[in-house]
């Protein structure tokens, strides 16, 4: 198959790019090595749309963060993704912190961040009564927001597909050859596609993919970030995103509500070797706790529902590495934080580069930027829900009791672009299995629905593709023993 543009990596960067490109008359293909999109950093991060005060003025990070964060509200709205401008607070505990906060304020102003101010202890505690009484000041950034990062990625890719883009999952790019004016891209299974332009948005593996195209200067190393997620009963502990005053290892451990009403604590920052190792550690999790309870009161560990880990793709320049070492091949590497916030702006930036290299941009007049929200049913009025149930009874059958997700919504997630094909895919699209019982109750039912929708045997359903099989076989009775 011959494409105009092939995008390697189905994360938020690849996804936003695909979506924006699909507004032009172009044949686009997203290549993703996993069984689903949003399986890398875009599914495990702090989910903050940063205001943009953190990055060094003049860097790509600063420029694209501020612009991306301004674009995000509209983007989220079009894609039907939950987004909330809850505001960020950087809390200081010492005179030293206070100095740092003043610097951040000035830096933010230079970067073009609006509405920044510095709060004294009283203002801070009026705004957030659960902040430790030891806090003396805070940087207040009302333009900071929260979003659901995997929902955004899935919606962007779904919208791109609705507008004609192709998605190939289980396509791990292992070889890239330039043949005449075209690139030939080969997967580890031997599948191949051809494209005139290639964008490398392979996250933590972007250096390896760049090397396949001959660029060996990019180096990326993984930095682990561990999180603890608390039940919705804890979601109201704070309403803003609470940062500590930053150190050299990133923005420090934060406490934030999520758009779904949970409370998120983390991340740690620890350099690691293995790009596949998203395991959590006992030390990391206990570190998260200690640090969070230093800033915020009222955190109840008994409300923990899960812990997880994301890997930051730390590049060797300190900035996003968006370059084109050879014609028609663009790298989007080292996209660490604030990559999520910047993603809509990164997409425009790359498209401008592609255009400068000759990619013709003709408006696709059928382009529809709107995607039906994945949570449409959940948020509908009772009358509207009943109208839908009357049309399709499966919407009246609740499968996930903790999050109240119906069979209809699960089937819809398997039928909508990009289709869910495994348990985790259903989870990220519908929230089924994401509640306090973590799928203990509904997993056997969802497995059955997946098997039915995909037309495959029950025991072939996986947690997240590959060898993540849920069952090892049938019982003796079922085998007729």
């Amino acid at each position: 198959m011959m494409y105009d543009v092939a995008i390697i990596g189905g994360g938020v960067v690849g996804g936003m790019l695909a979506r924006t490109l699909s507004s032009y008359k172009l044949k686009i293909c997203i290549l993703e090595k996993e069984n689903d999109v949003a399986m890398g950093a875009s599914k495990a991060n702090s989910a903050i749309v940063h205001a943009g005060f953190d990055a060094e003025p003049g860097t790509l990070k600063a420029k694209l963060n501020v612009k991306g964060s301004e674009m995000m509200e509209r983007t989220a709205k079009e894609l039907g993704v939950k987004y909330k401008r809850n505001g960020s607070l950087v809390v200081g505990f010492s005179d030293e912190d206070k100095k740092r906060i003043e610097e951040l304020h000035d830096r933010g102003v230079k970067n073009g961040v609006r509405e920044l101010s510095i709060l004294d202890s009283e203002e801070l505690h009026t705004l957030e009564p659960n902040i430790s009484p030891d806090a003396i000041c805070a940087l207040n950034a009302p333009t900071g927001a929260i979003i659901c990062p995997y929902e955004l990625t899935i919606a962007a890719i779904g919208n791109a597909m609705d507008n004609g883009a192709d998605l190939k999952v289980n396509f791990e790019v292992s070889e890239i050859n330039k043949i005449g004016a075209e690139f030939e891209i080969i997967s580890s299974n031997g599948d191949r596609i051809n494209a005139e332009y290639v964008v490398n948005a392979a996250g933590i593996n972007a250096d390896d993919v760049a090397a396949m195209a001959g660029e060996t200067d990019i180096k990326i190393h993984p930095r682990r970030g561990e999180y603890i997620l608390l039940d919705k009963t804890s979601g109201g502990v704070v309403s803003h995103t609470i940062f500590r005053t930053p150190s050299t290892m990133g923005k420090g451990i934060l406490v934030t509500p999520t758009v779904d009403g949970n409370l998120l604590l983390g991340p740690t920052a620890e350099d690691v070797e293995d790009k596949n190792d998203t395991s959590t550690t006992a030390d990391g999790l206990s570190n998260v706790l200690t640090r969070c309870t230093e800033t915020t009161n009222g955190i109840n560990l008994r409300d923990t529902i899960t812990s997880f880990c994301g890997l930051r793709a730390v590049g060797n320049t300190g900035d996003f590495i968006i370059n084109s070492p050879q014609e028609h091949f663009i790298n989007a590497a080292g996209i660490e934080s604030p990559g999520l916030s910047a993603s809509p702006a990164i997409a425009e930036y790359i498209i401008e580069m592609l255009n400068n290299q000759g990619l013709e941009l003709v408006k696709n007049e059928n382009y529809n930027p709107i995607r039906k929200p994945a949570h449409y049913f959940r948020e509908a009025s009772v009358a509207e829900k009943n109208r839908i149930i009357a049309e399709d009874r499966t919407y009246g059958r609740i499968i996930c009791r903790c999050e109240g997700v119906s069979e209809g919504e699960i089937r819809e997630a398997i039928r909508t672009n990009p289709p869910a094909r495994d348990l985790d895919g259903v989870k990220r699209r519908t929230r089924a299995q994401m509640g306090r019982c973590q799928g203990g109750f509904c997993m056997p039912y969802i497995t059955g629905i997946l098997a039915e929708e995909l037309g495959v045997p029950y025991e072939s359903i996986t947690k997240n593709g590959g060898s993540s099989k849920l069952m090892t076989g049938k019982t003796k009775e079922e085998q007729g023993i």
Partner: protein
């Protein structure tokens, strides 16, 4: 308006419905989210149910069927596939199902019988990867007994609760290798008979004071690291040990399913995680009763049925305006006795008090005080957290009581 709405059609819900019927109530509706009545018993195909009630050993489905049959005989209405979404303070119930959509019912009285759920991995914060092959024991039980699929071949079980013990045997019978059952505490939380019949009979080691500290394997479980814990429950570094396995089953506790209860604003007891109730199993909202595992976790279904009958009968009295709340005598506990059900006495009559203890105690004396005066005492050769205890206070013992407390002394 429906006189009595019962939420949950497990053994508790069914027993309560039958008791209410037998006490004269006809306008009853059971709401059950599953496709069948019977609750968790449907998947408990082992026997050991009903020894107290029926004097015989039934399997879970057999026990449940005895009640379901009676519900059908009496033509007590029930709606299946019906999930209750909300209960308001004034007893308006919102529910959803495929045929009626989302609907509301105003009830005169409500009985909560929603059962419990299992604690998940997340709540334990075990570090490591998040692969396929980590299941709660009840989920595994459902896969094996209801779906006919094996969740794995080489199994480690964390937690020695009854479901874990039962699944150790079930998986062994199905040809899986159960390598160990690790229990954080120095004693098992399961019934003694289950340890004998499910572990010892199959030569499965029970490692007390051990826990799983790490899960390995990217896509599917490849092993776990276990370690012995010190007396504060902290893993001891030198005792870390890797066990190869493809499955980790968790049997680490049950949590009463009280989201609806909480959203209705009903007082919850911090220890049971269930509503705090009077003798008649009435919660802090008059006319709302609770029974079974939603109230506190039971090990024997026989007690569930007994408790549900109390709730059903008193709901009938409430509906007829005859429920008496003459006094209000709280029952305190000393910590060695962790909790009691009921938590308050509202009528001076013979009363069974159920309780659990905090640790394993041998040669223990249970004492009930009214102020400083001991009004009841009894000796038990051995008590353990895994086995619910029960005493009966007589009407005359309660005669002068204003405040009760219950405690345990090791002799």
């Amino acid at each position: 308006m429906t006189e009595l709405v019962i939420i949950g059609g497990g053994p508790a819900g069914m027993s309560a419905a039958i008791a209410a019927y037998e006490n004269g109530i006809r306008d009853i509706l059971i709401l059950e989210r599953d496709e069948r009545l019977g609750g968790i018993l449907q998947q408990c195909i082992h026997n050991g149910f009903g020894l107290h009630r029926f004097g015989e050993e039934l399997t879970g489905p057999e026990y449940a069927w005895r009640y379901e049959e009676r519900v059908r005989e009496l033509s007590i209405p029930f709606k299946l596939n019906t999930m209750v979404l909300d209960i308001s303070e004034d007893k308006v119930i919102t529910a959803a199902n495929p045929t009626d959509g989302i609907f509301r019912i105003q009830a005169k009285a409500v009985i909560l019988a929603m059962g419990c759920r299992e604690r998940s991995r997340g709540a334990l914060n075990i570090s490591g990867t998040r692969p396929a092959g980590v299941y709660s024991a009840g989920t595994a039980q459902k896969l094996v007994n209801m779906k006919g699929f094996m969740p794995g071949k080489k199994v480690v079980i964390l937690g020695s609760g009854d479901i874990g013990l039962i699944m150790a045997r079930r998986m062994s019978l199905e040809g899986a290798e159960v390598k160990a059952v690790c229990e954080l505490m120095p004693y098992s939380g399961g019934l003694a008979r289950n340890i004998e019949q499910c572990l010892n009979d199959f030569n499965i080691p029970l490692l007390l004071s051990h826990t799983v500290v790490k899960i390995h394997g990217k896509k599917r479980v490849e092993g776990v690291t276990i370690a012995k814990v010190d007396d504060k429950g902290k893993p001891i570094e030198e005792t870390r040990q890797f066990i190869e396995c493809d499955t980790l089953l968790l049997s680490v506790g049950l949590i009463p399913e009280n989201e609806l209860t909480k959203s209705a604003g009903i007082d919850i007891n911090k220890i049971t995680n269930g509503a705090s109730v009077t003798q008649s199993r009435e919660t802090s909202i008059p006319g709302v009763f609770a029974c079974g595992n939603v109230l506190h976790v039971h090990d024997l279904v026989d007690y569930v049925s007994e408790e549900a009958e109390i709730a059903g009968k008193n709901a009938a009295l409430y509906i007829n305006g005859e429920l008496k709340n003459e006094v209000d005598i709280p029952i305190d506990t000393d910590g060695k006795v962790r909790y009691t059900v009921p938590q308050r006495i509202t009528e001076k009559k013979d009363t069974k008090v159920f309780f659990r203890v905090a640790n394993v105690y041998e040669n223990a004396e249970i004492k009930v005080y009214s102020g400083d005066e001991v009004i009841f005492k009894t000796r038990k050769p051995k008590v353990a957290p895994g086995e619910m205890q029960c005493i009966t206070l007589k009407e005359q013992q309660l005669e002068n009581a204003e405040k009760l407390s219950i405690g345990l002394e090791v002799l």
